[in-house]
């Protein structure tokens, strides 16, 4: 094969793309006409491919062995979460059924919100990454976080509960704990202490472990947005499954102000608002701007 070693330089140049277009074409014709040259060319190509594939497979094998957790079954965390969730649901159902009026003792029991829910009033779920990006989660709420992931416990359970705190009848509402928690210590200037990383869906980096000072209950309702505070809990009525929302709580000494950010608007939530009230958007531009800054920090 001595003849064709001379061609090795030509072959190398071709394979590295350093031949001019004309020379490339000429080379390609040569290959077709000369089987020995073609053989040497294929040989060189295969050797270089093999070197590349060697490293490629090395890296792929390593990545493959990284366990991403619950893709092929349940790991301990999910088992623990499932057990806890199931027991919460059981307790919640029991309490609801045994005493309708006993609302205050209820710690809201949660549902995994999945595409399997048969309730036709719930629209399709948004893409998980989109929702997740706008709702940073605290590490305290591991259960909610785990449930929020589709691949984890796919339980399509509904609680047929009636919220008697309001006078309206809501049929088979979907009760979901929110995924966000934010708390700010100062009112002026508005400083953010938590790390809102909105460009990633990794939650290991969340530093803020503080919680809202009240509980939130969302009630799926195709009517317009309403809210009320009742016995230390915020009840939100509206279509919160479709769109992400944020609750911002500002604390200053004993005072506190709560804002809801939903669909580009901000709403002030009065914590003494016991009756069901529609949500009114904030119009004050200064306040809006401050809230925007808060949100983006």
């Amino acid at each position: 094969m001595a003849n064709y070693s001379n061609h090795r330089e030509l072959i190398t140049k071709y394979l590295e793309g350093s031949l001019s277009r004309e020379d490339q074409l000429e080379f390609e014709i040569q290959i077709q006409n000369d089987p020995l040259l073609k053989d040497e060319f294929e040989f060189q190509k295969d050797v270089i491919d093999a070197l590349r594939n060697y490293r490629k497979n090395e890296i792929k094998n390593r990545l493959n062995n990284i366990n991403i957790g619950n893709s092929s079954g349940f790991n301990l965390l999910n088992i623990a979460a499932s057990v806890t969730i199931s027991s919460f649901i059981a307790i919640g159902t029991y309490l609801y059924l045994s005493d309708h009026a006993a609302q205050d003792s209820l710690q809201v029991v949660d549902l995994a919100n999945t595409p399997n829910i048969e309730n036709s009033s719930i629209a399709d779920l948004p893409e998980k990454p989109k929702v997740v990006e706008l709702q940073p989660k605290s590490l305290d709420q591991v259960i909610t976080e785990v449930k929020g992931e589709e691949k984890a416990t796919k339980e399509a359970k509904e609680i047929d509960s009636q919220v008697t705190a309001s006078n309206k009848k809501i049929n088979t509402p979907n009760v979901i704990l929110p995924n966000i928690v934010e708390e700010f210590e100062t009112m002026d200037p508005l400083e953010v202490e938590s790390d809102l990383s909105n460009n990633s869906s990794s939650f290991e980096s969340i530093k803020n472990k503080e919680v809202l000072s009240f509980e939130i209950e969302k009630i799926e309702n195709s009517e317009y947005l309403h809210y009320q505070f009742y016995q230390g809990k915020l009840y939100l009525y509206g279509e919160f499954n479709d769109n992400p929302y944020e609750i911002i709580e500002l604390k200053s000494g004993n005072k506190r102000k709560v804002f809801l950010n939903y669909n580009e608007d901000y709403f002030l939530l009065k914590t003494n608002q016991r009756d069901l009230t529609p949500l009114k958007a904030i119009k004050d531009p200064t306040l809006i701007e401050e809230l925007n800054i808060l949100k983006s920090e």
């Binding site: 050797v47 060697y54 490293r55 990545l63 493959n64 991403i68 998980k128 691949k151």
Partner: protein, 179 residues
């Protein structure tokens, strides 16, 4: 880890940066493929391939990143998966047998080549993979491997390649094919 740091680490050859990216965007990419007629295994393959493409682009200096890494990876996955879907649909239409038969000898040889590459000494393996896989320049290779200058690196690479070629050729006989 921010994007910049990830890229800096890759340029240093730190594979842990890839591990980090793999974990971070796994669900996003897997979901992309699985919601497009893919299985989870398909998705894994595609995502790993995409990460490798990303690695090579960064190390060879060919990447100009104008968006987030996640956006870039996402579009690479999309392209790779589309290509794969095309390939699959073509395979269905064409005669599989015909294609395999032609490449039989070559496939045999490729097997031998792969074995020989495995058996290469570390020094030669490194210099050849830095050159062909990572796309590093002779200058960069000389730095990384501690050679005196780029000429030394060039010579070493030439010798290693030649050694490999000869080793492979000694392992198979192409006389059947030629005669």
């Amino acid at each position: 880890m921010k994007d910049k740091e990830v890229i800096a680490r890759i340029n240093k050859g730190d594979e842990k940066a890839l591990d980090y990216l793999y974990r971070k965007y796994y669900r996003m990419m897997v979901k992309l493929v699985m919601s497009n007629n893919g299985t989870e295994q398909d998705a894994k393959d595609i995502y790993q391939d995409a990460l490798i493409v990303f690695w090579q682009k960064v190390t060879s200096g060919k990447l100009v990143l104008t968006s987030k890494i996640s956006t870039y990876l996402y579009s690479v996955c999309l392209n790779l998966w589309r290509k794969e879907l095309d390939r699959k649909s073509r395979l269905v239409n064409e005669e599989k047998d015909g294609i395999e038969y032609i490449d039989q000898d070559r496939q045999e040889r490729i097997k031998i080549i792969n074995e020989c590459v495995q058996q290469l000494g570390d020094g030669c393996k490194k210099i050849l993979t830095y050159y062909y896989f990572d796309g590093l320049s002779m200058n960069e290779i000389a730095d990384k491997l501690g050679y005196a200058n780029t000429d030394t690196a060039k010579t070493k690479k030439y010798k290693c390649k030649k050694k490999l070629d000869q080793f492979i050729k000694s392992k198979y006989k192409s006389s059947d094919f030629l005669d």
